[in-house]
Symmetry: C2
């Protein structure tokens, strides 16, 4: 039995890989685990059946036998524990890879999502233009710090890990807003992640869902 994940029936990012099912698809591709996808409309995401799986009414979820998870950090970590390839064997290196997962989700992502959401929700507000530099500064502060730490390294800590997977997906959103232009090492790091065969398979799979939805219009 394959695990089953949920994803948008019609992703608001138009198949650019920004929806969070991309993280889980990529992790599953890295470890060579096939999976099934259940597609949800926005309405279905707020219905009791889905809220029982995901109390915050989002995608993705992950179901495998008796286990049901939400939160991409937890799902990717679970996949990484079940299969080799996403976390180092050495205990200290493994703790640091988990550290980068949390850093991606709790330190780097929030100001990037805050800027992206303001563009969607507050673009028409009278303060939008005036506030934008503040949002830029918050996002760029974290990107600068990350750029300085990464330096010329290929990955965040030793070999590619689930920490890189999470960070790259967060940087994808920053890049979609043009924020990586000043950080050539982060742009190159993102490209290295995007060049991985598992990334490309995952990207193609989520894009195919969007393209099929378009064709049905």
């Amino acid at each position: 039995m394959n695990p089953t994940i949920t994803a948008f029936e019609r992703s608001p990012d138009r198949g650019r890989g920004l929806a969070r099912d991309m993280r889980v698809r990529w992790a599953l591709e890295e470890v060579g685990q096939s999976y099934d996808v259940r597609h949800l409309s926005f309405a279905a995401m707020k219905e009791p059946a889905h809220l029982a799986l995901h109390p915050f009414g989002q995608i993705p979820t992950y179901e495998d036998g008796g286990l049901a998870l939400f939160e991409t950090g937890a799902i990717v970590f679970h996949i990484a524990q079940q299969h080799a390839g996403l976390l180092p064997r050495d205990a200290n290196a493994r703790a640091r890879a988990v550290m980068w997962m949390f850093a991606a989700l709790n330190t780097v992502e929030p100001p990037i999502v805050e800027r992206a959401m303001a563009i969607v929700v507050e673009r028409g507000e009278p303060w939008f233009e005036q506030r934008l530099p503040l949002l830029d500064n918050n996002a760029r502060k974290r990107l600068s710090e990350l750029s300085r730490r990464l330096g010329d390294a290929e990955w965040l800590d030793g070999d590619f890990s689930a920490g890189d997977l999470m960070m790259a997906n967060v940087l994808l959103r920053a890049n979609a807003m043009g924020l990586l232009a000043d950080y050539s090492n982060l742009a190159a790091y993102l490209s290295r992640n995007e060049a991985r065969p598992a990334y490309r398979r995952a990207f193609a799979a989520q894009l195919a869902v969007f393209t099929a939805g378009q064709a049905n219009d």
Copy 2:
């Protein structure tokens, strides 16, 4: 040898337990692990010595033998793996406890911190009052969803876990802004967490640092 954590020399929260070292102190108290604390000024947090430990220039960090970590999620998870008491033994229950750690840090905390930061940074801006309802709505949306999921349960999933520890610390900040008044089950849940002996020891320890700093003025 005790592990060493870093904390503010003078916490901007004035000892209310909102600084993130509280999470790590609490976890260490839950498992009965004594620890040493190195206190840092704001200036020291931006110096190369600390940035080598923590690329984002924050507290806390955690050092134990050859391992150095930042990110409270990663530190608490590491402590929970080294000692019994913070994560269930059953693999599926353990995955769900980790899920609640990520949910606290990546889903519930961001809108709460966003509101708290706006109060600090944007209070003097002409748009502050107009924007506040939007910030309130974002925070309350997550709190409503969490409240609905928690229901009458004592803890988020079975016994107390590192997931509750993280969520309670996030709710502490919401409560400090008065946001739990409409969610009596979340307020009671926070109180249950605060009543734990380990929480009280951790809270007293961080408060003592602030009080000692005051006495030295």
